[in-house]
């Protein structure tokens, strides 16, 4: 299943919430959809889930348009909003059974599917609790179970980790990894970037309705072109760090070098593995410098996000 968002524009009166955004992802991948508040994430997700119509542009699921055939698109999507309704007159199993019926599951198939989904999401123990009696973490698990009840090929999750404790977050991460391994295409919108970093194979960064970067993490990294950063840990000797700093700045590929703390120096280099190698070689060949660690820092999702966004809200 390939999900393609093409030239999506959504206006609310004079205000343009989403401005010509395009990206795609496919089965087996988990894509992080990140951006500051008011960036247009939920608007995009609503269009993707057939709940809103764009001013222009379209979203395609294996070529099926959300505008032209929303009824055909719905069975392939599992949409999980950031909040679950708070009914005090409906139990968890009744709620899940209702959605299973709504997706057309019948008889024994429905019963078996519900059992499997409840086992997978560990909601079996909650079956007789009302929705209002659930904690945030429990609600998110029930919400995920609801989104999975019809075995969709694509999962669209809006802030699934918001309000969860560390254990619940880890459980959610593990579940999503299993789902992606089972061939589902997953799009997650989240603010907790450290959570996404471990599981995402790609990302879409959005700000003020514009896409700032989209693709696999490496692709986005190359699109945004942040310079490689190398952290060098040195044994502290008075005056020596200044000497090291001077020596580092003599190299043509070093953009900047600064003392991070009394035992660490951060170096920005203009280049990649070859330049890193040359720098390491020069440091090791100098017997006076006592380098105990040379670590190339990976650019994480958080750094990537901070690099490309300006924190502007529409």
């Amino acid at each position: 299943m390939i999900v393609e968002v093409k030239n999506l524009v959504r206006d609310y009166g004079k205000h343009r919430a989403v401005n010509d955004i395009s990206f795609s992802f496919e089965s087996g991948h988990i894509f992080g959809f990140i951006g500051p508040n008011g960036a247009g994430k939920t608007t995009t997700i609503k269009v993707m889930a057939t709940l809103d119509i764009p001013t222009s542009g379209d979203v395609y699921y294996d070529g099926m348009s959300v505008l032209e055939m929303p009824e055909k698109v719905r069975p392939v999507i599992g949409y999980m909003p950031d909040a679950l309704p708070e009914h005090n007159d409906i139990k968890v199993w009744e709620y899940l059974d209702f959605f299973a019926r709504s997706y057309g599951l019948k008889g024994a198939t429905r019963a078996n599917t519900l059992e499997q989904v409840m086992n997978f999401t560990n909601t079996e123990i909650l079956r007789d609790k009302t929705l209002k009696a659930l904690s945030k973490g429990m609600k998110q698990r029930v919400s995920l179970a609801r989104a999975l009840v019809h075995d969709p090929e694509v999962l669209i999750l809006d802030e699934p980790a918001a309000g969860l404790d560390p254990r619940a977050r880890k459980e959610l991460r593990d579940l999503l990894k299993i789902l992606a391994a089972n061939g589902k295409a997953i799009l997650i919108s989240s603010h907790i970037l450290s959570e996404l970093q471990d599981i995402c194979t790609g990302t879409v960064i959005i700000e003020k309705g514009h896409i700032l970067g989209a693709g696999t993490l490496d692709e986005v990294k190359s699109q945004t072109k942040p310079s490689d950063e190398i952290t060098i840990l040195v044994r502290f000797l008075e005056g020596e760090n200044e000497q090291l700093l001077k020596k580092l700045l003599e190299n043509s590929y070093v953009n900047n070098a600064s003392i991070a703390n009394n035992r660490q120096i951060l170096v920005d280099i203009n280049g990649d593995d070859l330049e890193s190698h040359l720098l390491l070689q020069s440091l090791v060949s100098d017997k006076t410098l006592k380098v105990v660690e040379f670590q190339k820092q990976n650019v994480g999702l958080e750094e990537l996000f901070m690099n490309v966004t300006k924190g502007e809200v529409q």
Binding site: L67, E71, R74, P75, I77, I90, E94, S102, G107
Partner: protein, 500 residues
């Protein structure tokens, strides 16, 4: 023996499972919610207490001319009617309003494969289950009223049937109002109006008990006919409101209206042809009134419509040009709806004329003529204001981008309503001051109609002229939409490609 029992058990289980699968998911959910909630239990207890109290109190009327039975029946009937108009509809409205106040809750239903038709049918059916439950609470007391004497059995059956039947359009109106994007205060006003209508109907029913009149087939026909017409109208309006924004949301409403219109006229034609008595009970003008009221409600609904057709609807066009024309008429869009309205209005009037030509024995009184002009004038005014609203929308969009066609339509109605009042006040004529009380609906639409009844002709001509002018000013836009609607067709079922 055991295996035979097992086989029978399995057969029964299979049948139950099949019925369970066949059930509408909304009905299952709503009934489960009703069982789990305390609201229905409280309502049950309240109704039972009221009924027992009524039973005890009604003995005080034993010596009156009506008899204990009829008084007791009237009280239980009122408990039943107000039980569903206030109690059950309160439960239904609160639940739906709560659901729709929380977007996430409703959004989740619309991401499933369940259609808007099934959602509304489910809501109606589950509410009717509650009405039936309420009826079952009242039935033993209805039986007691018969044994207390003073009321005939067939009166009890007929009136109870009528009261139950009226619950269908009423519950549908409650659902329509609950899901509509209106302000809460307006919703409350509409609901109070609806309760008042049902209360008047109930008083009318109770007056039948007092006079001990048995129901005729004609009254049965009228109640069923009106209940069906308004049920269908509210049902399809609600479905239209809940359908996907790109869908052909008015399709059901238009098909229903066309069918209702055809069936009504077939019934009237057949009635005149085969029954000598029919003309005494049903006048063509009565059918015309109902048709025009529905046409006016469609005008109102049209104000909420999109100004352009959606791509999805355009691409669903059939290849055949004639079918494409019919598809255009039955599709969403203000231009499409306007053409539909014009065709319907022409059709209704042609058939009315045709009926008078074919059956000269149908007498036309001056009241019939006035009544015809009266309702047609209101329709013309509404239509003219809507056409004017469309012109305003197109020309003032750059100044008021958020204003919808309905906003302009409401503004124009309000402007002329207030204008009528001011002129009536300035002229200080008793007849004209009627406008303040808004007794006569026609008075609210134009100062011109503030004249006497004989001047209805002027109002009729003016309203028609305004409509004509409105159509002329919109003609270019309508033609553009029509051209667009005729241009596309699908090459294969649902492949989503256009011809050009």
């Amino acid at each position: 023996m055991v295996s035979a029992l097992k086989a029978k058990y399995n057969t029964v289980k299979n049948i139950i499972d099949k019925i369970d699968d066949f059930l509408n998911p909304i009905v299952v959910k709503e009934i489960r919610q009703s069982i789990n909630s305390s609201g229905v239990m409280v309502l049950t207890l309240l109704i039972l207490i009221l009924e027992v109290s009524a039973f005890l109190l009604s003995f005080g009327y034993g010596d009156t001319e009506f008899g204990t039975g009829s008084v007791f029946y009237a009280i239980i009937l009122a408990i039943f009617v107000f039980g569903y108009t206030i109690g059950i509809s309160g439960v239904v409205a609160t639940r739906i309003t709560k659901e729709y106040a929380n977007n996430d809750s409703t959004d989740l239903i619309y991401t499933t494969t369940i259609s808007s038709y099934r959602i509304i049918s489910g809501k109606l059916f589950s509410a009717m289950v509650l009405v039936f439950y309420l009826l079952s609470l009242c039935l033993p007391f209805f039986a007691i009223s018969y044994f207390l004497k003073g009321i005939a059995l067939n009166t009890i059956i007929n009136i109870t049937f009528f009261a139950f039947f009226v619950a269908v359009p009423y519950i549908l109106l409650v659902i329509l109002v609950s899901v509509s994007p209106m302000h809460k205060a307006i919703k409350v006003i509409v609901m109070l109006g609806a309760i008042a209508v049902v209360a008047i109907f109930t008083i009318w029913l109770i007056s039948y008990i007092e006079r001990a009149i048995t129901f005729s087939w004609e009254s049965l026909f009228c109640v069923i006919y009106l209940a069906t017409v308004f049920s269908g109208l509210f049902y399809f309006l609600t479905v239209g409101l809940l359908s996907h924004l790109t869908a052909n949301r008015t399709f059901g409403l238009k098909v229903f209206y066309s069918l209702f219109f055809i069936v009504s006229y077939v019934i009237v034609f057949a009635g005149y042809m085969f029954s000598k008595m029919f003309a005494l009970f049903v006048k063509p003008i009565d059918i015309y009134h109902v048709a025009m009221i529905i046409l006016m409600l469609i005008v109102l609904f049209n104000s909420f419509e999109r100004t352009e057709q959606t791509k999805r609807v355009l691409l669903a066009n059939p290849k055949n040009i004639i079918l494409r024309f019919f598809h255009y008429i039955f599709s969403i869009g203000m231009a499409n709806n306007t053409l539909f309205l014009i065709l319907c209005f022409t059709g209704i009037n042609s058939l009315l004329l045709c009926m008078f030509k074919i059956y000269p024995k149908v007498q036309i009184t001056s009241d019939d003529v006035y009544s015809y002009k009266f309702i047609t004038t209101i329709f013309f005014y509404l239509f003219a204001y809507q056409l004017a609203a469309l012109i305003l929308k197109r020309n003032c969009n750059k100044y008021f981008s958020k204003a919808s066609v309905f906003s302009y339509f409401a503004f124009l109605n309000l402007f002329f309503m207030l204008g009528s009042m001011v002129i009536a006040f300035i002229l200080k004529n008793i007849l004209k001051i009627k406008a303040f009380a808004l007794i006569d609906y026609i008075f609210i639409f134009s100062p011109l109609i503030l004249w006497q009844r004989t001047n209805i002709d002027i109002a009729f001509v003016v309203s028609m002229t305004l409509c004509f002018i409105g159509l002329c000013f919109n003609l270019k836009y309508f033609f553009k939409c029509f051209k667009e609607g005729m241009k596309y067709y699908r090459e294969g079922a649902g492949n989503g490609k256009k011809s050009k």
